[in-house]
Amino acid sequence: MATETVKRKTDIGPPHYEKFLPPIIKKNYGKWKHHEIVKPGVLMHVAESGDKLFSVRAATPRLASTKTLRLFADLADKFSGGHLRYTSRNNVEFLVTDEKQIEPLIARLKTEGYPVGGTGPSITNIVHTQGWVHCHSAASDASGVVKSVMDELFPHFEKMDLPAKLRIAFACCLNMCGAVHCSDISILGLHRRPPKVNHAALPKMCEIPTTVASCPTGAIRPKTVDGKQTVEIIEEQCMYCANCFTVCPAITLADAENDGCSIWVGGKVSNARHEPMFSKLAIPFLPNNPPRWPEVVAAVKNIVEVYAKNARKYERMGEWIERIGWPRFFRLADIPFTKFHIDDFKHAGEYYRRSAHIKHMPEA
């Protein structure tokens, strides 16, 4: 045992990043001067020293087999001195110093199925989550929706043909691990039925007071069933947030017919021009239709195309909608406006229009 304690390393933290930096970065660290997008997917950073670094950005499905990681390692050895990195949106970037390697690398990546793009005013990788691949909480699948949507939007990944960057995110439940709350377009999986309680299991698995307290709307009450202490759900009060499920596994929300996806638009995180904004509800519900989620794909595509056609250069989705106004967005995108779009949560009222600033339409 004592031996083991000695041998067992803990709290060493991650490797120091310097070990993995290519020489050109070590040399020019903090001394970059400017950059340019040479072509879609290829960035050139020029250092004060005059050195040039070319980053070639390729799509990945994020979910990667070790076989693919070994492929990337091999490609890095061949084209970029063994150096590569991932981006904050799960693309892979090969850090090339020899300009001549760029085109062969791009060609190889394409053949292998990892196309290059995602820079500038384009659609880059969709930030997403586990879905049915791994998470207990998922109301939709992440990887399947992302694949289906990106197949359809693919031209906008390879070409920089949009007014501005368009960031899409997917999260499979309201926990929003994909941080969809601030994306140009967000796809959010959600439940639409109150939880079912497994009365037999609950007393063994969960603490009643914690479970009752977990509900933000007070929809959970203690109840005795077959002589055992358990809980009941007041269905009208439930907003399907799943917080009870997170604290008590004997409560489940999954429902094949009523789970699905909602679409949100107009969020952003950069400070460029407009301050960061939350995404807002565009479409309250679309069904889960695996494997290709055609309703979701069509809805996202429609919004992208309406945006692409109408927004001005440098205008992110939310900035564009703010300029034209939400009424016009709903009309242009041909999306019905319903009572579900009107906030009725904690700050209900904060977003009621409290002025006479209205873009009236003359009577038809």
């Binding site: 990667a64 091999d74 590569l84 990195r85 892979v92 989550t129 929003m176 941080a179 400070n271």
Partner: protein, 393 residues
């Protein structure tokens, strides 16, 4: 492993099309791993049933750590015994997600020996995610990882794995060393990262400039966003080149889009009223050769963003408008320490620090951690008259 292969007609559909296919990845792994094969099988089942088949994880992990592993079980183990247990291991990524081919291969070696061979590069928080293994494999994975120089990331109510944009490694706009800081904080707070002792999770994300390429303002309890205090640097020749280059219409694309309306362009001269510039980056983004952040650089420190569960989503809020950030980052650590102490003592279970601040009030929070209130912290002063004056009788 061929016997493990099942028919997956629905998922096969997702091998088609131009975007890289996760199904291809899973099939590749399934060729070598029974676990991966069952993962594919159970996923096809979900595609048929339209519900997930995973259950809550119990508490699994490595000795001495409270985080880093997410336990996972399925609800039809009779059908998919090789994913009866299917835990993920979060491995702390190197800052900025830089790798050498050798480092990648080393990770692959370990993971092929002890898990499904499926990964996420990377998880949303920033970790390398090893997707799917059994409890007995955890200790071996851990010791081989540490032997290779890697360690686990966070999970549960601890400090989560910090992450950052590539910053000074590759970007001319980095106003401080994001990777240096991230590594420093990660090392400094190893105990807080591995042993959950907070009311809830605490995430740190570091962006080198206001473009915020790691979405820190939306996804981190502590968002560190580079900025500058002095004037935007201007290269007049490059401005002139821009004006004639034909790509940028300085009046329309730059000046008219400046959110603080603090720029002026008469067709020849570009001038900036820097006192009114809100450091949004737009003009610099559009004219990267002509303009650059000032020289007096540091960061704005914001606190409290999070996803909506359960009081609604939050963006981070300004705590320190400007802080110089140089190793050993003592000011920042002092601030973090003070905040953790207060929140640690008074935060409720599962209350993120952003929610805690709203509950106790930013004014009181500042008083307790010893920061002066400044008007930069708010978009406007209060509009309601319900002021808690602390007048003594």
């Amino acid at each position: 492993m061929a016997d493990k292969k099942r028919s997956t007609p629905k998922l096969d559909e997702l091998e088609k099309g131009p975007w890289p296919s996760f199904v291809k990845e899973m099939k590749q792994a399934a060729e070598k791993s029974a676990t991966a094969a069952d993962a594919l099988g159970i996923l096809e089942r979900s595609y048929n049933d339209k519900i997930g088949h995973w259950k809550h994880g119990g508490i699994v992990g490595v000795k001495g750590y409270g985080g880093g592993v997410i336990g996972r079980y399925n609800d039809i183990p009779q059908d998919f015994p090789d994913v009866a247990e299917f835990h993920t291991v979060r491995v702390n990524q190197p800052a900025g997600w830089f790798y050498t081919s050798d480092a990648l291969r080393k990770l692959c070696d370990i993971w092929e020996r002890h898990g499904s061979g499926l990964t996420n590069m990377h998880g949303s928080t920033g970790d390398i995610v090893f997707l799917g293994t059994k409890t007995p494999e955890l200790e071996p994975i851990f010791s081989e990882l540490t032997e290779a120089g890697f360690d686990l990331g966070g999970s549960g109510s601890d400090m989560r794995t910090p992450s950052c944009c590539c910053g000074m490694a590759r970007c001319e706009w980095a106003c401080y060393d994001t990777m240096g800081l991230t590594y420093d904080l990660t090392m400094h707070y190893q105990d807080e990262l591995h042993r959950p002792a907070f009311p809830y999770k605490f995430k740190i994300k570091a962006a080198g400039c206001p473009n915020d390429c790691v979405a820190s303002v939306a996804r981190a309890d502590l968002s560190i966003i580079g900025t500058w205090r002095d004037n935007i640097q201007m290269n007049k020749d490059a401005v002139a080149a821009c004006a004639t280059g034909g790509k940028v219409d300085i009046g329309k694309d730059v000046v008219a889009k400046c959110p603080s309306k603090c720029m002026d362009w008469d067709g020849k001269n570009l001038s900036i009223d820097n006192g009114n510039c809100v450091r949004c980056m737009h003009c610099i983004n559009v004219m990267p050769k002509a303009l650059a952040p000032g020289k007096d650089r540091g960061a704005t420190i914001l606190v409290g963003s999070k996803a909506p569960i359960i009081e609604g989503a939050l963006l981070s809020a300004v705590m320190v408008p400007f802080l110089k950030l140089e190793a050993p980052y003592s000011d920042l650590k002092e601030l973090i320490g003070a905040m953790w102490e207060l929140w640690g003592e008074h935060g409720k279970n599962r209350e993120r620090i952003g929610e805690f601040i709203q509950r106790v009030g930013l004014g009181n929070f500042l008083e307790q951690i010893g920061l002066e209130p400044v008007p930069e912290m708010v978009t406007q002063p209060r509009t309601n008259p319900y002021i808690f004056y602390d007048v003594k009788k």
